[in-house]
């Protein structure tokens, strides 16, 4: 406190003399400090974003930029009549609609499980978290073998319980569900960590007071813990949703969108239209729709946030 006060006194003395010069110096430094990041963000984020909107109105092959043609809303017209677009949109939303609640519920359960003073608590946490650190490419390849219809570990386990071999990724009915199951396993540890931080933010005396008042563990969970986690839950749902609509690596590696387009997603459609079919205009139109979906999700989730 004393140093703060003396600094303040010192400040006032030299204020008149050097304030102007110091202010100018700070302004110059401010602009200089932000310049590298701002330039990079403009060139590699803002500009591409504007280009995406622009390209959406063109017929355009990435490798022949000289032959660009403006065609107005033509791409959007085609897109809204394209059954593959609707299929991809449906698959993306279907994946999201299942993964988000399931993954968040599993994550919350794991967080509640490790939020106690248990001796092996750290080991449990590392077990739940290790799939998160492993890259999606590794996981997708690994699970192709786990899901193998004839010689896979999962089918062996099912056989043990008397269930016959399942086709998993080879079946149009099961492929998306197989990807969903794997994705929940992979990412639940991430959301668990956020829930855990939320749980540790709940004041301990709340639970103590309630247990003096005779509340049991389940009542504490229902009336204290879960309501206190409201905002954390909204946040977790938001980031999980945004993550989920980006689904790409899993179908790209595991099914290439098949069987029968049952795992084709919007991100996969953008990639394939833009780079494999060299249809950059159409792919950009899909990108714009994709962006609007992400913005819509983010803003509608914000509405649910409560003031503390």
């Amino acid at each position: 406190m004393q140093t703060a006060a003396s600094t303040k006194a010192l400040n006032q003395k030299s204020e008149s003399a050097s304030l102007g010069r110091q202010k100018r110096r700070e302004t110059v430094a401010g602009y200089a400090f932000i310049t590298p990041a701002v330039i990079l963000l403009i060139v590699f984020l803002v500009l591409p974003f504007l280009f995406a909107i622009l390209f959406g109105f063109t017929k355009f092959n990435l490798l022949r930029p000289d032959k660009i043609q403006f065609i107005g809303f033509e791409n959007y017209k085609i897109l809204f009549q394209d059954s593959l677009f609707y299929k991809s949109l449906f698959n993306t939303l279907y994946f999201t609609a299942i993964v988000v609640p399931v993954q968040c519920a599993v994550a919350l359960m794991l967080a509640l499980l490790v939020n106690h003073r248990l001796k092996l608590r750290n080991a449990y946490r590392i077990a739940y978290f290790s799939p998160v650190v492993t890259s999606m490419t590794v996981i997708a390849i690994l699970w192709i073998y786990l899901y193998n219809p004839n010689e896979g570990l999962i089918n062996s386990a099912l056989n043990f319980f008397g269930i016959p071999n399942q086709p998993f990724l080879r079946s149009a009915n099961q492929a998306m569900h197989s990807i969903i199951f794997m994705s929940v396993w992979q990412a639940a540890g991430y959301q668990m960590m956020i829930f855990l931080a939320g749980l540790q933010g709940i004041p301990g005396d709340l639970n103590e007071a309630s247990s003096i008042d005779g509340a049991n563990k389940f009542q504490q969970l229902r009336f204290i813990t879960l309501p206190s986690l409201y905002n954390v839950t909204v946040f977790v749902l938001t980031i999980t949703t945004i993550q989920a609509v980006k689904l790409f690596v899993q179908p790209y590696i595991m099914t290439n969108g098949g069987p029968e387009n049952s795992t084709r997603t919007l991100a996969l459609l953008i990639y394939q239209q833009g780079f494999q079919f060299r249809n950059a205009g159409y792919a950009s139109a899909v990108s714009v729709i994709f962006f609007l979906i992400v913005v819509f999700i983010s803003f509608s989730m914000k509405k649910f946030l409560r003031d503390k």
């Binding site: 703060a4 010192l10 202010k23 700070e26 430094a29 401010g30 602009y31 400090f33 932000i34 590298p36 990041a37 701002v38 990079l40 963000l41 984020l45 591409p48 974003f49 995406a52 390209f55 990435l62 930029p65 499980l113 248990l118 092996l120 449990y124 077990a127 739940y128 290790s130 650190v133 492993t134 890259s135 999606m136 490419t137 590794v138 996981i139 390849i141 690994l142 073998y145 786990l146 570990l153 062996s156 056989n159 396993w185 960590m193 956020i194 931080a197 939320g198 563990k217 977790v236 980031i239 790409f248 690596v249 790209y252 590696i253 953008i270 990639y271 950059a280 990108s287 714009v288 992400v294």
Partner: protein, 276 residues
Amino acid sequence: MTDRTVKLLLNLTNIVMSILFITPLLWMVVSSFKPETRIFADLSSIKALLPLNFTLDNYKAAFDRIPMMKYLNNSIFYVSVIAISGLAVNSICGYALAKLHFKGREFILSAVIALMIVPFESILMPLYFIVNNLQWVDTWPALIVPFVANSFSIFMFRQFFMDIPNEILESASIDGSSPMKTFVSIVVPLSGPVFATVFILDFISHWGDFMWPILVTTGESLRNVQLGIQTFFTLPPVFYGQIMATLTFTTVPIILLFLLLQKYYVQGITSSGIKG
């Protein structure tokens, strides 16, 4: 229910769940050290998860077929460059947004926050267009430069620097220290944790890079580990053991880094949760 029964139940559930969660990765590691025939023979029993008939043959054979070491070095190189140069660029920007006063600061801050929402997938095409026009395809800059500045990292730094008391900075500036000198000699030494957090978040996320490298590395020379294992698994003849060896080999460095910087990684995830 007594506290002891609660604890017992919790431990039991945790053990069952841990086994479920760890089994796929355990099978991957164990199979990478087993002879091919043994992997299939053990599949239908608990032996699938036990390291029997230990051998390094899968690793030797896989490394003869693809240059895993080179892919690993490529990944370590370009991901480190992104993460380290990102620390410099984003920290100094975050500092200016937190502590320096200049016109337009609030606008830049809002813009940086707004940019966090733009998904990479929606700028994929035009970004490729730009990188292609810069003639960067199949060169290091294509993998590195677009990802150095990161709005999320800038935001993390800014949040951390906001908590540094102004008095410390003011007294330095009265002593005639330039803003750059104040930043380097006073702010940076106080901010080890946030640097570690941003570094590991950035490193782990780019270690998994897959979509972008497919596009901009046309040849083999710049291929990263993710592309390496993906090409390998589509390359006949397929041997389970060899594929598990390359997967394990790719995963080990990142697990080590995680265990080393675990505290900061978790802090990064949780702070984003609380402040977001």
